[in-house]
Symmetry: D3
Subunit: 308 residues, 6 copies
């Protein structure tokens, strides 16, 4: 017997067409899933220690990767075989439970390593506080970074349940690093409202989107050239995304989110994005599939753009 | 140790910031949850003995109250801290199982007591037949009462499964008391169709809403000054409210329901409302959250209106 | 005691109004459920051996029939008591597991027998490959048959997982028999895209429907006079139909599907239809109810049309 | 085409080996499922209007019948093909919801009709209060009837939640008709304890069974010759029967229940039995299968015994 | 209207027999539920931030309290109306998410306050790490405290996932405070095995219980006079307690646990106990009921003992 | 950046202690998970096309592997670090759906390859028919092979649902290859009973185990030196293994199965084993954990034995 661990190609030959691919995103196999060649890296982080009410976003990354096995690799709307840019799936990041800060630091370090190797990062959460780690790393590499946040909530509390680093505070911390644009907000605390007023910030509320007071162009224009996109999946309407911790009615449609994502990917330099707060046990498996398709489409738009 | 049962304020002091609020609606604490001061009273009635097919609306009230813990007290669309009007949550009414009439009578008596104390009543069911008890009490206090019913079904059968007091007959009984306006109907029995024709009644069907044959203004105009609103939650589209016994396709959106509720609350004197037939086990937890938010918004519009 | 098996009418007399109807579609009882008199026959086929990922469409037929017990027999939108055309429900077809071809052959034989007796066939799957058996039988009886396919996927692969007769290949096989029109497609493999191009075929994509590039009239015109309609229920949007194996986002609404179904039923001679790939365990019970109502409405439009 | 409704044998011939049996208990087909010839009749009653907490026993009968499709007809432990005694499955009794008494009366009337036709009755509940209807009918036919109750609870309250005819009171009402023996009790209210003491009654508690203070022989001896057996399925240990409303720990094993059932069937004249309070949604499908096998085994022992 | 908040007795009079009790443990009402008079205090702590794999023990306390509503207040095996000792249920402790230590400190402070008021503490978790807070408080009050641990795991790791205060380390930390006796262990890491050997500790393994190498008397003798009992509910066999994060096969029966609990309560001075790591979503509702009954029985044995 | 695909050790160095291991059985990492060095190979086969009733055993292998991540690598009952023998997890075998025979052939070929490389094979199903493929391969390598079957059913039908290669026929086909010993059977069809009698075969029934008519020694003695062990997981009692298609009451305990497995591993040359028919969706996650622990313990006993 040959050494299949040393020479994976001969191992592959042995079971040509017999085995299913290992659980990489989209079921990719080498060479497309090789870390070295891949432009894109999927980073799963199963951590949800500061979530309230329904927990379970720790199971989000695996559920999205599982669902992605059933994606068509060819995207006929883009008319492009997206996987050919290379998408490598890292193993899940082991949680560190001493404090939210320590976990955020771990994400920061991993993302920093990926940036140094010029990867396009797709962070799959896990809870929203982890986005802070990614943004910190990108801010160092792209000093004029701005962040586009798609979210039902502003996440602008200064402190919540005894910590400044929980999911309810993540955009307050990110705002201390760089400008943000908020889209899809439909719930605010009094404290957040005050903070927005004092800082002359204004999210695009769902009511703005409904009344056409907000346009995709306006969203794009509000951003700097280098953009990180953070998507709390509760931005979607609960009809298509009930699998979240706090499912606010009257959310965005698949098409609304896609229009923004595609336009930003075309007109800006997107450096990475994340899909956070997905709790697969709280809804049907259609939710995981929707997010897998969103991630794949986003990669298709953003990484190809970068390649030009 | 002080006597915390006698002197709740000192008890509160003892665990300042340590305990979660008791399970009152919206997680309210004294003084906002005090029965005496509160303008609004939430009345949970866990009864579903005449339901067909999928039962479980007995679990509806608790599920809505649980979900309401995660509401923001500040409603930024109304720009109002709604809870300051005072919302007291009564304990659940104990079912009486001897007959539906006996249970309806119990609801009547409790609601009558609340009316005498000038409370705005929010009844959380439980099955739809209970609304008859509330309407009886309100009709006595407001002789020119009309009832606005949001419902996928007409509920106008004369008798069903051996009783005239089951959920399928509730509006037939209410119509014997006062005028009704029906909105959102999309399923009728032959008997109901005949009854409507003979009595020259005409619900607003979903097809009317779709074709703009019905307007919010028209709905408001069809009502008398004093209005009780009864909402069978199956009026919503199953995409956002699958958690009902008979989920008819092609229902109302969040925005459609809200527009009616808000307009009625502004232009009429709403004396109380109910949310009935919610079966939390039949759908994701987003359903409970939607109903909690609907109740809170409705209180925000209706109780404030009254205050003017 | 009389012989209730021989003389069902006396048995019926014995328990007049005491027993619920047996589990026929829509809870029908004789004479409406009698096979001899009924114009329409519901054929449940609990088979899902070639499905990938989430299986469970074997449970689809029973779930639809269960839900149909709660349909109103009177359809007030059509203003018609549909059941009076007669709807008989056959027992479930026993699966044959030696190969997909053998199972397809069994469906072919049963449907052929029903056609010979001039029944309107409603096939409830089970997996999509079974439609091939029905189409074969109808093609023999109606040589100029065309097939209207409502589906999120093209199902045009030549072979998949070692067989040419799995669900992913069913329309490729049907296309070898007769022309097809595809509506609602929103996912294609590279192989399918190539095949479509080479054969100058073009499905109506969801993007066509969104942009009004496709019209209901156009769909109707694309069909021959004799039409079989095959509905993979994943054509619906996952918000109202998550209970499928591969729930693609951005699907059709209840109203969009109904408009097509009603128009085809009016302008063409529909010989039968199927509802396939429903996996009841993957979503709320609202899904089964939607499909029961769709089947009943479709019968209402199509069988009455034929009667003219 | 022949008339399959008139001549079922020719219909059977048409689809010989193609269709699955209709949903009769154990999947039986004629002649074994014919009501006229069958010694045994399965009577499903989907009613649960007086249940507390977790409802859902209305779904119990269908779940047991569904599971029974997968029974082996041959029972190798008894070495007997049980189905040959004939087991006919009636349609489900339609609930009457005006009051528990009215529903109990309906069960009484149906069972009385079956007794007049010398059937062995297997009642599938539904809630426990229905057993009162069956016992009333059997008491009339067998004046020296006694009732063996297998149950975690005594069900001896005089009134509960406003009615004397709810599930918590059923054995109090039955005791007014005939003697009872209680086995497996492991929860008592203070009122029930007092009542037992005053009436010099003593259930066999689980602790008696554990300490061998109770024997199967003793249970058999406590009964008169004509016996009706009522089984609240919560008598089983929650490890094998969690699917009940009030699952008391420390219950009976499969073997313990079977030993009693078999011994009573051998030594006494069992006139009928019931399986009550099964809530299929509260546990895995193994629960339904266990009950289907229990019912089949019980029929095997009891009906054959009677035949001697 | 009187002021029901000020004068609860008149409020009670108003709805005499109409309302269900508030959600206190066992559904108790005043005076039995009054904090001042009650000997026993139930302390629910919904915190699970350091749990691995399946989370959800945050929902444990509410599920146990919900199930306890259906307990009989009279325990006929003890022949005692346990609730008369008084059982007050505190509101849920609000989590603090800055670090596990901070949360443990919060539990410590609350328990300390309860000890100062001479309460018997029943802690409902929540994850096992919280027991450290309770033990710290009891150790200060009872310097010769020992801890009896019923658990499938030793929880003796020094550090895990970056913290010394997670659930996997809790007994290592407790052992630094006072002696422990471990019962029911059936899984050990290599590190734990080494630690046990070096420290000459030896748990009672399940194999000891099976082979009668361990006796209840031996367990009791291993403890000092003042005992705190910590129960990780995974000590039970998964057949009756699947609702845990790591369900090890071959666990303890209801009777085995009860024998130990009752014997310790009789022969020692139990100062409090906890039920930890219950994840209600992972198993049927029978699990919550079992734990409610266990807690009530334990109170019955332990608090009465103290009263002598 | 180094090439992590070529030099995994440097990649490992980069994220030392940050990432969770990939999803190999027991979470093993190189060198223990390397295919070349590992004595044991875990072969997951997600195929269930011939299953009746509840399907879903296709999800069995992944669920067992997921659960195995939480095993302690050290087995303190065996006092052995089992993983050091090396356990490599192959990717899942891709189903071939043309016919059961084709799929069985695929398993045969893969297992044959593993035998040629002297691996100890652990097959994770998937449905029971796949065992035939494994036995064929082992029979070629070990001409005097016998098969020990732990199963609730005999699986000795000659044909079922149109095929001789379905799960209900697998042991009939295996018996055509080599002798078998059946343990735990508690359900037989009449055909199977006849076949057993005619062939003078006699399974060890559960009643034999209960009455001590069967001993572990007797089971071991009935086998030849080279043994393949096939475990249909429905051999376990439904209390600990409800997650199967046909959950027969009165099954084997964890301890009973383990005693047999351990004794066979000690006294015979076990060449491989399988765990089949596990349907994770039908029961709690404790089922998956039990099977993961069983597989690991079996490897611990069998592979070490071989090593002597």
């Amino acid at each position: 017997m040959n050494d299949p661990d040393r020479h994976p190609q001969s191992f592959a030959a042995w079971h040509e067409g017999i085995f299913l691919p290992r659980q990489a995103f989209a079921g990719l196999e080498p060479p497309y899933s090789n870390l070295r060649q891949a432009k894109t890296v999927v980073l799963p982080v199963p951590y949800d220690s500061t979530s309230e009410w329904r927990s379970g976003s720790r199971h989000g990354p695996q559920a999205i990767i599982d669902a992605s096995q059933y994606l068509e690799l060819y995207d006929f709307e883009l008319d492009r075989e997206i996987h050919k840019v290379g998408i490598s799936t890292l193993p899940q990041v082991e949680p560190v439970l001493s404090s939210p800060q320590d976990m955020i630091k771990r994400v920061y370090e991993v993302v920093k390593g990926l940036i140094q190797n010029e990867k396009f990062v797709v962070l799959l959460g896990g809870e929203h506080s982890l986005s802070l780690g990614a943004v910190r790393a990108f801010k160092e590499a792209f000093p004029r970074l701005s962040v586009l946040q798609l979210d039902a909530h502003a996440d602008l509390r200064d402190e919540y349940l005894g910590t400044k680093y929980g999911q309810a505070c993540v955009m307050r911390r990110i705002l201390e690093l760089c400008p943000i644009s908020q889209v899809g907000v439909r719930s605010l605390s009094w404290e957040e409202k005050e903070f927005l007023t004092q800082n002359k910030l204004r999210p695009l509320y769902m009511s703005d989107l409904a009344s056409n007071a907000a346009s995709v162009d306006g969203i794009v224009e509000s951003l700097s050239q280098d953009v990180y996109v953070t998507i709390d999946v509760d931005v979607f309407d609960p009809s298509i995304m009930p699998a979240v911790g706090t499912p606010e009615p009257d959310g965005m449609s698949w098409r609304q989110v896609l229009d923004i994502v595609e336009s930003v990917a075309i007109h800006k330099h997107v450096v990475g994005f994340d899909l956070m707060e997905f709790c697969p046990g709280e809804g049907p498996s259609s939710c995981a599939f929707l997010l897998a398709k969103l991630a794949y489409r986003f990669i298709g738009c953003a990484v190809a753009e970068k390649a030009k």
